[in-house]
């Protein structure tokens, strides 16, 4: 068909032009910064310019990993994410299963809109909510819980040891409802006749949940879990920066790689260390995504990201 071939050849350029604005944005926003990773290997001096600055090899990394910061931020990033993945999955599943038991779509919808609201607000608003509960002078917890019980009031924003619990609770509060909707959708897709058959065999509700619902969901749970593991080197900057109010006293339990990169760059003006930490995060993150995907592909090729 000569006509078709002519359209094809004639259309390459117009189609490229349609794609151009998006491509230009990717080039600027994503690809040029990738070239900038060599900043981590330079002693940046803005008078000399980025290209004129001296190469220092791995010095930035050497200095970074000599500090205790490197250990603390890596530990915190990994442990928080592990806690979020495990506890988050359990809570989301729990909510989803209960939600699927409710009669009528109207109720499920009502609960859903209530449960997604926390996910839609910014971390700034979340920090206000946490402040209303925890601030030392007028917070709800100090005034209305600890004081009536005769316990000592706590200065939450300067006690690092409580923050692992606070941050896990805040993250769960914000994201578990949202996560449950995914599982809810999968549960809704399970063939009802399986449950009917189980019922006839005399299986109770709990037996149905552990014998049917959970096994049916296992591939999804594993898939989502692995994808979360691929992102384990990233953290929500807002949760770890804004919610603890950037309190210096809390860095030992709130510093993650993302907050370190920001503080080193903007507050300490240490471009080298910040770039080194950022590259460390990008490279390890990249490797983790690749590995996680390879495992997903081994488990179930259809579910692999690529």
């Amino acid at each position: 068909m000569p006509l078709k071939r002519r359209t094809k050849a004639g259309n390459t350029l117009p189609l490229l032009l349609v794609a151009a604005p998006g491509l230009l944005y990717l080039l600027i926003n994503n690809y040029i910064p990738m070239l900038g990773i060599f900043i981590a290997f330079k002693d940046i001096n803005f008078v000399k310019g980025i290209f004129g600055s001296d190469w220092v090899g791995f010095d930035n990394f050497k200095f970074l990993f000599k500090t205790t910061d490197a250990f603390i931020m890596t530990r915190n990033t990994l442990l928080y994410n592990l806690a979020f993945i495990v506890i988050g999955t359990v809570c989301s599943l729990f909510i989803a299963i209960l939600m699927s038991e409710l009669l009528g779509k109207t109720y499920a919808k009502l609960f859903q809109s209530g449960l997604v609201l926390p996910n839609l607000i910014s971390m700034v608003i979340v920090s206000y909510l946490v402040f209303a509960f925890l601030n030392a002078d007028s917070g709800f917890v100090n005034h209305s819980i600890l004081r009536p019980l005769g316990l000592t009031e706590l200065n939450w924003y300067s006690e690092p040891k409580y923050w692992p619990f606070i941050l896990v609770i805040v993250e769960l509060w914000k994201s578990a409802g949202f996560g449950s909707i995914v599982y809810f959708a999968f549960i809704a897709g399970i063939d009802k006749s399986i449950y009917e058959a189980a019922k006839i065999d005399g299986a109770g509700k709990l037996k149905q949940i552990f014998g049917i619902t959970l096994p049916m969901l296992t591939p999804t749970i594993i898939l989502l879990g692995l994808l979360a593991v691929g992102r384990i080197f990233n953290s929500d900057f807002g949760l770890f920066y804004q919610v603890p109010m950037n309190s210096g006293a809390l860095y030992s339990t709130t510093q993650t790689i993302d907050t370190y990169v920001y503080r080193a760059l903007i507050q300490l003006n240490d471009v080298g260390m910040s770039a080194a930490a950022g590259l460390y995060q990008s490279v390890v993150g990249f490797i983790l995504v690749i590995v996680a995907n390879a495992i997903v592909r081994k488990v179930n090729a259809d579910n692999a990201l690529f």
Binding site: A19, I28, N29, L98, E101, L103, F140, V182, F286
Partner: protein, 298 residues
């Protein structure tokens, strides 16, 4: 009708009870700030934030409306950035996705890989910060709130590409081509009108991202007149003095000493959440759809 056993009924009641409790937990913090924003400042100072205050007051809101210029400007910035950012984002996302969806486009796989790779590897914050601030000079402009990071993401592009590919019949494109329509015309006369559902979903998430963003301003904005609502909230939380010192409140003169600072903070938080609460019922459908799409691969 399926007959329910006693055990099933009990389990159902248990589910309803626990779900009500869980949903209440999701709401309680919002109720606390709402109640606090209507609480008399003296009560907040002596008794702390509570769900059942002894004395109600609308002073915080009177104060807020008395200083409407500060708040209105921040609201204006947020609304502008959200509208422009979302519109631009939808435009360039769908424009990039359209050629990629075309089976007869030579470079579709090259483009798909270029898009996909951005989801795997990032240059990091530092090169990106230096590029935007030193080479594009976007510091202290509204562009700083629109362009870095959020304008387009690979995931949405691939999502729209798949939608175009699987939900828009290719026959439509072919017949338009035979009629002599240009690619631009096919894009906006055929592809866009037929992709309203997917655009609503990604548009909603993009709009939420812009409305909730405060990080771009943290990096690139130092002049308060470019602060959106989120950054005004940060500023207010860190330093209630900002209100006292801001131009708008200088008119208040001596009243400044009696500023209902805690209640004003919470009133501002309410103002920040309100738009989301208002639009939530209308967006529910697209929201749940988006969550499920987001969970499975694009």
């Amino acid at each position: 009708m399926i007959i329910q056993t006693a055990g099933e009924r009990a389990f159902r009641t248990f589910s309803a009870a626990v779900m009500s409790l869980v949903t209440l937990t999701a709401f309680l913090p919002f109720i606390l700030i709402l109640v606090s924003s209507f609480t008399d400042e003296k009560i907040l100072v002596s008794k702390g934030f509570g769900f059942f205050p002894e004395k109600l007051s609308v002073d915080a809101y009177i104060y807020m409306f008395g200083n409407i210029t500060t708040f209105a400007r921040a609201y204006g910035v947020s609304i502008f950035v959200t509208c422009v950012g979302t519109a631009l984002s939808l435009l360039i996302t769908t424009m990039l996705a359209y050629p990629m969806s075309r089976g007869d486009f030579k470079y579709r796989n090259v483009l798909a890989f270029a898009v996909f790779f951005t989801m795997l590897f990032r240059g990091g914050v530092v090169p990106s910060y230096i590029m935007w601030s030193k080479y594009f000079s976007i510091k202290d402009t509204l562009s700083a709130l629109i362009f870095p990071n959020y304008l387009m993401n690979g995931f949405n592009v691939l999502l729209v590409r798949n939608y175009f590919k699987h939900s828009v019949p290719f026959d439509l494109v072919e017949s338009a081509q035979l009629d002599g329509a240009s690619e631009i015309k096919i894009y906006y006369k055929i592809m866009l009108p037929l992709s309203i559902p997917v655009m609503a979903t990604i548009g909603l998430f993009t709009a939420l991202m812009y409305w909730n963003d405060w990080i771009n301003a943290l990096y690139y904005i130092s002049k308060p007149q470019y602060y959106g609502i989120q950054n005004l909230l940060i500023r207010l939380m860190n330093n209630i003095q900002y209100l006292k010192s801001s131009e708008a409140s200088s008119m208040l003169g001596s009243n400044v000493m009696e500023l209902p600072s805690n209640a004003v903070r919470m009133a501002m938080a309410v103002a920040g959440v309100l738009p989301i609460v208002i639009v939530l019922p209308f967006l529910q459908k697209y929201l749940t759809k988006g969550v499920v799409i987001g969970a499975v691969k694009g």
